[in-house]
């Protein structure tokens, strides 16, 4: 039986009190609850403070480039669908630099779990606005306040009929673990947007700010109702719904490839007889 110690303890480069700490713990707990061994799991991350998270647990890791966690995760999942593939990065990495990959992963419905540490600010580059910063949010780089409208990842994902769309908050730890376990169990693309305060550069969206607003969805809520989900995704401000907001079961991308019916691409021998036949058609 796997237990949380199998996932190790590491020194981190995060600020004391960072929202990443409870998030990391929730991820480890969810993996244990799913009964997954470290070698069965692949974390793919980009760049940013959030993207360092996979270095702080024991698992397979590919820490790639800023914005590019999702395509690397997609390639790895296609090569070996037996891997449990988790792409993990921050709001800037996934929604900003990697925006196009985010949209395409939803459209593919590739069976990866995308964990987005959403603290509404750039941490590693020291406090610029992120795609999810609220309009008017003042930073050193946006002294007049953010002029853009914020990116709404849940609304976009639901609009594209994503497989699984959820929002969690690190202050509601058990609730977050439940969401993560469900996301990991979902076959197909799953997005978990995780609210977590940046204690160094976001003085607005603090633990208290989120605590006052984040409300778990009632058990009566039906996440398969697309219109309800779209309406819910627009809620932000005094009350922020957290939980599984939308579910849409459909075959994951990798199910469509005949090459994978024999198992992972890795280890498949070259079919020389068939290649020779193809070569003959060039005669």
């Amino acid at each position: 039986m796997v237990d949380i110690n199998d996932y190790g303890e590491y020194k981190t480069a995060w600020c004391p009190g960072c929202g990443n700490f409870p998030l990391l713990k929730a991820v480890k707990t969810a993996l244990v609850n799913r009964g997954l061994e470290p070698h069965q799991v692949l974390f793919v991350s980009g760049i940013g403070q959030a993207a360092k998270a996979p270095h702080y647990l024991r698992a397979n890791v590919f820490n790639g480039l800023h914005g590019r966690a999702v395509p690397v995760a997609t390639g790895a999942k296609l090569a070996n669908p037996d891997l449990v593939v988790i792409a993990e990065s921050g709001d800037g990495c996934v929604y900003g630099e990697g925006g196009n990959h985010f949209l395409s992963a939803i459209r593919r419905n590739i069976d990866i779990t995308l964990l987005v540490h959403n603290n509404q600010v750039y941490g590693l580059t020291k406090g610029q606005a992120s795609p999810t910063s609220d309009s008017g949010f003042i930073t050193k780089a946006q002294p007049e306040g953010v002029l853009h409208f914020p990116f709404n990842p849940l609304a976009v994902a639901i609009a594209l009929h994503a497989g699984f769309v959820a929002r969690g908050y690190v202050g509601l730890e058990d609730h977050l673990v439940e969401i993560l376990v469900e996301a990991l169990s979902h076959r197909g693309f799953s997005l978990v947007d995780i609210l977590q305060p940046c204690v160094s550069f976001n003085r607005v969206n603090t633990y208290q700010w989120y605590k006052d607003r984040c409300k778990p969805l009632p058990s009566s809520y039906d996440p398969t109702d697309w219109e309800a989900a779209i309406r819910l995704s627009q809620q932000w401000g005094d009350e922020i719904p957290v939980g599984v907001i939308y579910r849409n079961e459909k075959p994951p991308f990798e199910d469509h490839f005949s090459a994978l019916r024999k198992g992972p691409l890795v280890g498949q021998e070259l079919e020389r007889v068939r290649l020779a036949k193809i070569m003959e058609t060039y005669m």
Partner: protein
Amino acid sequence: MMELKCSLRFREKGGMGMKRERSVKQKRRKEGMTAHLAERKSVNILIGGEAGQGLQTAGFIFAKSLVRSGFSIHVTQTYESRVRGGHNTFSIRVGCEKVLAAQEGIDILIALNEETIDLHRKELTKRGLIIGDGEWKRKEKNWIGLSLKEFGEKTYWNTACMGVAAGLIGLDEQVVAKAIEDTFGKERSEENLKILKTSYRWLKEQALEWKKLPEIPKPAKRLVMNGNEAIALGAISAGLKFCSFYPMSPSTSIAQTLIDCAKDMDLIIEQAEDEIAAINMAIGASYAGAPGIVPTSGGGFALMVEGVSLAAITETPVVIVIGQRPGPATGLATRTEQGELGFVLHAGHGEFPRAVFAPGTIEECFHLTRKAFELAEKYQGPMFVLTDHFLADSYRDMEPVDVAKLSAVKAGGDPSSVKTPYLRYRMTKNGISPRLLPGLSEHLIVADSHEHTEDGHMTENLSLRPKMVDKRLRKGDGIRSEVIPPDFQGDKKPDVLFISWGSTKGAVEEAAVQLRSGKKKVGALHFSQVWPMVPDQFIKHLEQSKKVICVESNATGQFAQLIRRETGFVVQKRISRYDGLSITPEYILRHL
């Protein structure tokens, strides 16, 4: 090269006779070196028309029929960046022995529209003739106007004209019919076959008598392939399992060829949302054990460059094919150039080893792509195949390959053979660390784009940093030890030494042969691997030549510059072409 007995002599009334020029010597003196090529040892056929008129299909069927009849072919295609209209050409040079390059001049001009005649009539050789729609009522003396309306529907006029040309040079109708069937499938061939029959019948009725191409008894079976197809098939034979791409001329057909084979060969080919995703997906797939290729062109490669660097530091195998076309930016989307050498040599931030192959023939497209896969897996990093639009589309005949004898790469090592604890980036003498794949054992595979420790985790340990840099660069020594030496042909200590790389191989070889027949001592030094460069392999040739001329399809002489940088040797002359067309032997001889 054997002379083709195909003087295409009319015996018909009406004065259409074309006397073959027996003695060209005097003329040759007048016209200088180029005239050597006037002594034609092959036949050039050009099919011209608008995009959408089926000239590529007709050309391909013609080419296939020629090879099946035992001839060697060399195809050059030109087309515009549009789907319908414009002016496109498909030229086939046919010879009895291996044809190395294209040749200027047209012996048979198949005009699918009248504009083709106006654009190409000046290129007709003395014996050149024109085949087209009789309604145009052309006045050219060697005009063969077909009453195409009587042949059949307009859609099939390409087959009609091609059929007449095939009959004129003596191709067996059955061979052409079979090529049609194999191209369209039996069901969709019916109309084309009918019209082919009409063409051959018409030819007979006209009582035109020709000296045909010589009949080659029991022709050996050979493949007909273009550069991109050879790259795709070479890649599959090397163990490719994955390809991610974003469509871009001239490399799209590499992915398309793979897509066509995907079901039979159990491949995954994914059209990515952009080139950045394409290379990152291939890196992800390769990390997890699927050898992959990323085909693109200069503009797409520009987007991939950060991924090249990622493959280098994470030590992930990936093969990138860059089909060059003229830049900067969009440039000339469907023309050819060798302008990305410098870019590909230096692409990617940071310092790391790489190999860059530049195939010069279809065979090399196949085998050097294989080599790129082998090196990528062995040295765990990005390897490049640098080709161009000209070679990508150039159909040639090729000896069949015995696939059973080819080895395929195996991704990753044996988990039971590694020292524990397993370290993905273990320091080794040759810089190659044991590469395991995630999920196949209890070993954890940690790969990182940051500078990292031996176990793959990011580090700011500055005393480790130079060791990791050196470890990666040590792999470069291995890559260097496997460099394919440039191919030297011709006279030693020559008066003129041509240097070339990539797709210009055949043109340079043929120009060298022509020049040699003018009593000069001529050598040709061709590079099919342009990086790393090992001066000891070739510097003697440069130093022992009276005059060294570097031939390349770019304006700034990138390869000449590279030679100078790596050896200190300054070439005396450059022959450059950068008008978007491929270098021909005649072009070289004209610019001596």
